[in-house]
Symmetry: C2
Subunit: 409 residues, 2 copies
């Protein structure tokens, strides 16, 4: 039997999805599971989008342009301009989800062995894409105590080697919910200029910024146009994860020419997703206002409930729909699996994502979990009751560590 | 400005799509272009499929399972069983088009520098995916004189080195239309066993076998289950290229476990494509009978018309909807571009794919083009008139070479 690839062996399993078999077993045994492990919102996809798909008059379901419908890219450039992101349709390649935008960006910019600095905890699948492209992620640690603010520039500089080719951020952040300030982004800009690095920015949560805080895009930073690659997706924007539509955006023509070749190899992005994405651009502002109000109410409840639990700490995020909470536990992987395998509160339990998978540094995130507030308030309340009860009886509860942790805040 | 990747530089542009800008310019100038360059059929997508998409009652367009809908995979295993391909739903991962199936298979099986033997001419995008995965394609030449039959086993063996990790075929073949016989596949099986290689087989054209000839799948070969990876797509089967739905199929559990990790990193295949693909399995046999009759009529006309042209030779393919024709020309890239830039017959011209892009060996396919018979007979006739007229006036026509070539048949 031939051997599988080294990549195939070392590729990390998704921390968001690896516990799925345990959840399936629990469900088959009659358990109700509150899914807070995955960024799959329960928010309805806008009618504007779904109607366009249902009413499409296609006779032959053809390939599209490898960069996506021209009409869609033109309208998208207007969408970005409404955020003061001045890009033209030729600066945009429509991708199969944000995932493909990341993967094409990595293949276009980096050689095997090149290093990419990423503040951790970071979106776990960056590990998968870097593994697939043989890119080495060098994590720079951010901390729960500061709400996962940008680490000091000196910490980035410590990691810079001749192999360093870029920095990657997610803003607003998954899994932290942290929203970078203009000052923080200006610091990154100086770094990027000083070392002539790529700056990849995953801004798929731009519509979800709370408390009146400003969304600053890397595209707002002046003078580093050639260094910037914006990664985007409609999955979260319109609660349309299954559409598999994203975008890779850059004013660097060489990067775009390389990216187009990778896009051509896979022929085209999905047609129905594009029809939906194009129509979704007409989604009324009121939709986002309603959705944001809903997410804020969930966040406020969640953060309040978590911080009321003995030994738990969770900073209040300003964007996206995730938070990282520190729990009084020995091991978040064991705990999250135990929740599915061993725990039950009135035949209910909660599924969380162990934070370990969001760190690249070994043994980090052992007492942290990522919680996605993607369920309605009622379910969220029941999920928090489950978590509270679970923490009381979890055999790996660590009392001392948690109280000292709390006192460290 | 940071440099793009080495891959981004060396990645070949798609021979099928690289001439698109010239076609766009010609169209803007009022030219009518017959597109025989791309495997985009004009056949209507089955109503069964499109109706399922239009009638879907989705409220939240969610991610699906990373391996695709379980219901779809179960029905797909029945579909394969109807071709005596005995696979279960757990042996199948739904991918974003056949493209992603190829790309995930390469990443799961091969390390950078590993060698993959592929009979050439081969589907041009194999170059793209091998470049993206740093896999080295070692081409083994097949010839137009034999209709692109499998090269002798001795030719494969000449290429085998300690780095050789697999063989890849396309059956029925794109771009050749060649259908491998059971005998040819048994020869490959012996090779695969002898050297313990992976055998990747792209069988997306299985529904299109003509003249009563038998379709033999690599999955019919006994005793090499652990070596085989079947790559599939619904794009051609249901004329649904824009759905972006394919499949990676193997009974090798280690390969499937690795492949699932790559699938998890990109989250899920497109939901609407899956809804369509699942519904399409109920497409009546009569649909394929009608489509096959249509393709056969086109093929018969096309091959006849080509071979009637002075200096042209085209073997008759038994499957898919492509042929490779040898033309009396100096350079197929120059010729195909000239057709779009300089030639006009009653304000019409034809777009073909230069065969050079389907060969990995340098300077091969210089006098060959790939023609996709994806247009109706009437358009195909007009396209052949254009080609005939074009060959008469093309400045790079080579008379001597063509007649000697003809005499070589």
């Amino acid at each position: 039997m031939p051997k599988i690839s080294h990549k195939g062996e070392t590729m990390p399993a998704s921390p968001i999805r690896k516990l799925v078999p345990y959840a399936e077993t629990a469900k088959k045994a009659g358990m109700k599971i509150y899914h807070l492990n995955i960024g799959q919102p329960d928010i309805e996809t806008p009618d504007t989008m779904m109607d366009a798909i249902r009413n499409s008059k296609i006779k032959v379901l053809e390939y599209s342009h490898s960069a996506g419908f021209e009409s869609y890219r033109k309208k998208l450039s207007d969408y970005y301009k409404s955020f003061r992101i001045n890009v033209e349709s030729t600066d945009i390649i429509i991708t199969t989800g944000g995932s493909e935008a990341i993967s094409i960006a990595m293949m276009s910019c980096f050689n095997p062995g090149d290093e990419l600095i990423v503040p951790e905890p970071f979106y776990a699948n960056y590990n998968g894409f870097s593994c697939a492209s043989d890119v080495v992620i060098r994590p720079v640690r951010s901390y729960i105590e500061t709400g996962f603010a940008l680490p000091p520039v000196s910490e980035f500089e410590k990691l810079i080697t001749p192999k360093t080719k870029g920095i990657m951020i997610c803003n607003p952040g998954n899994p932290t919910g942290y929203l970078y300030s203009r000052e923080e982004l200006e610091l990154l800009k100086a770094l990027v200029k000083k070392y002539d690095l790529y700056l990849l920015s995953d801004e798929v949560y731009r519509e979800f910024c709370y408390d009146g805080k400003e969304y600053v895009s890397v595209m707002h930073l002046e003078g580093i146009d050639q260094n910037i690659i914006l990664l985007d997706s409609i999955s979260k924007r319109y609660s349309a994860c299954g559409a598999r539509i994203g975008a890779l955006i850059s004013k660097n023509k060489e990067v775009m020419a390389a990216a187009l070749k990778f896009a051509q190899a896979r022929l085209s992005p999905p047609t129905f997703g594009q029809i939906g994405g194009e129509a979704a651009l007409a989604t009324p502002k009121s939709y986002f206002e309603k959705v944001n109000k809903e997410y804020m109410a969930r966040r406020d409840f969640l953060i309040g409930a978590l911080n009321k639990m003995e030994g738990v700490f969770c900073p209040k995020p300003s964007g996206a729909f995730y938070c990282i909470a520190r729990l009084p536990i020995d091991n978040s992987d064991t705990f999250c699996q135990w929740l599915l395998e061993k725990f039950s509160h009135n035949k209910e339990t909660v599924m969380l994502a162990p934070a370990t998978g969001f760190y690249s540094s070994k043994n980090s995130g052992m007492d942290e979990v990522r919680i996605a507030y993607v369920l309605n308030l009622e379910d969220l309340k029941k999920a928090m009751i489950c978590l509270d009860e679970a923490l009381k009886v979890y055999p790996g509860r660590i009392v001392e560590k948690s109280s000292s942790a709390k006192s460290r805040i």
